[in-house]
Subunit: 386 residues, 2 copies
Amino acid sequence: MAPTFSFRVLHTDGAARCGEMTTSHGVVQTPAFMPVGTRGAVKGVTPRDLREVGAEIILGNTYHLWLRPGDGLIARLGGLHRFTGWDGPILTDSGGFQAFSLGEKRAITEDGIRFRSHLDGSEHLLTPEGATEIQARLGPDIAMVLDECLAQPAPDSAVKESTERSARWARRCRDRFLALSGRGPGSCSEVAITNPGQAQFGIVQGGTVPELRTLSAERTLAIGFEAYAIGGLSVGERADTMYSVVGHTAPQLPADRPRYLMGVGTPLDIVEAVSRGIDLFDCVMPTRNARNGQLFTSEGRLTIKNARFADDQGPPDPSCACYTCRTHSRAYLRHLFVSGEIGAAVLNTIHNLRFYLDTMARVRHAIVFGTLETLRQSLQAMFSRP
Amino acid sequence: MAPTFSFRVLHTDGAARCGEMTTSHGVVQTPAFMPVGTRGAVKGVTPRDLREVGAEIILGNTYHLWLRPGDGLIARLGGLHRFTGWDGPILTDSGGFQAFSLGEKRAITEDGIRFRSHLDGSEHLLTPEGATEIQARLGPDIAMVLDECLAQPAPDSAVKESTERSARWARRCRDRFLALSGRGPGSCSEVAITNPGQAQFGIVQGGTVPELRTLSAERTLAIGFEAYAIGGLSVGERADTMYSVVGHTAPQLPADRPRYLMGVGTPLDIVEAVSRGIDLFDCVMPTRNARNGQLFTSEGRLTIKNARFADDQGPPDPSCACYTCRTHSRAYLRHLFVSGEIGAAVLNTIHNLRFYLDTMARVRHAIVFGTLETLRQSLQAMFSRP
């Protein structure tokens, strides 16, 4: 592993693990949830708010930061940590998922992903080497390889082809990463490296085909990364399909490295994945839903604009100790939301993030005490998908 | 005065006064600036943020709160303090200025102001008695009388007529206020009173005509209020005209009561008015300009979206100790603003409010040390209007 990256498992409950991931900006207790700070800010909250709700690591999006304000600018300003004011661990994705999501405006070749910027229509090519260099300049503690995200459902042949390409891209990413860190051939003197302790994670693709997941895991492990992620899930497939793929893939990843399930999910999805051996999560759900007026609570989901909350003096979640729940009533939050006040987004986001991060703490405690199945059942009762 | 309302002057420097205003929700050091919380929230900041930037009293708008969520609902929930989570002093305006500002959608008669709601076009009549009852339900520590705001410039005859009407309305407001508090004739059992310690301020109108200001002051003082405000300024007149009207009017108001200059203004306007004997201010400028990307700093105004800040690693204001200046660079704030991030409004608002409230602290210290003129000159150099 890179010198400043390490992981150790402290407790297990079945396949679930409770551990500590050490990065160049501090320790993360796992299983951990990473709030999403797309453009260098978790929307609506400050770094101080993030600390207070219990965040230990956040995620940034390479695609967005590359296009604006630019990885070169962020490198000149000392990297993402200094730029954003968040001094804890940061993980960035590779930009591939966002570029892929541009649909008509992108084309995938062996070189990489050619696309037009959503900001100004300018044309860009995101290559495995480029994604690695951009992340070297941004300076997160954990960088991700560029992978191909395939629209599902797709024929097995297309999934196989895509999985093979992702493996080739992963090799190119790793080669560039090793060159950048002086551990492999190639000159990279033109790339400003803002975080010498950066780790790089590989990504296992393979859609919902078990054999292809196994193939992708073998290929990715053969390259060798500090740790491994499972990508290409939570893209519209059924929940039980996702759980099944996770249950198939997680055990194939090294037990002594953290396992990251990308873009997942609901509180129930998270505990289901933890019980299958996953350690890291990210999802826009708590922050995006907060801005849309949906609160996650110990009593399930709550749509704050509902008229029945107009004169509800109770806190959003009676079991929650966040600033919002300590200070404000459902009636007030409804008023702010209905009035379109900025404060609605701020206060709802503080609560939803606290709920997610409290849930992760409960997950860790449950693993220590061997009661994860009980917790899973209670989250299932509250957060089953319709 | 109402039992829980009092004021005492501690120091003077010429006409300027440094004092303490005691309300039913605590003490306010004067001269004081009130951040504007139009719809029950100071846009972009929490009650905790308000405390941290040094706010001691905030303002709410009766017009907005009356229409949504409604004064009846707020009364049922215990009044504005409980509803908003701000437990310090609150002042509400009467709703007159907002109703007046609806332009084509309103008509003024002796009864009051008839208007159509900006929310749904529904027709409403705001009377002096109604404005007083709405504020009794809302429960601020300080309520304002309903006055007529006249568009300027206007012929002296129109100003005189309007001033006379405002005086008649003030009488009706005071009668209703005394009845509501059991100190005058009339039954008000149907009105829920959420703050028995509420004080009521009269408002001196009279446009820019000294004789009419004097007339209005006499009429308003004859009715008798806990304290007095100067209204109808900062509506487009020249700065020196405003200063002149304040200089003419303030000395006619009782020296043992706080004097409130409504809707003012720039840091320079404030110190100019303080030097003429004003104690209280409110203005949307720090909060609105923050959302538009304009920062008030010790070096003058700063437009954060300017390209020259793109890689400026310095804090927004090197002399400021607010959370924003302690945590973030101009480059980051520019990125957030250009990207349309919610955090831009939040962080800019925290800074601008802190700058205004720090300025008020400097004003108070200058009065104590007899150096207000020096402070006025330095603010004039930085914040003269173009």
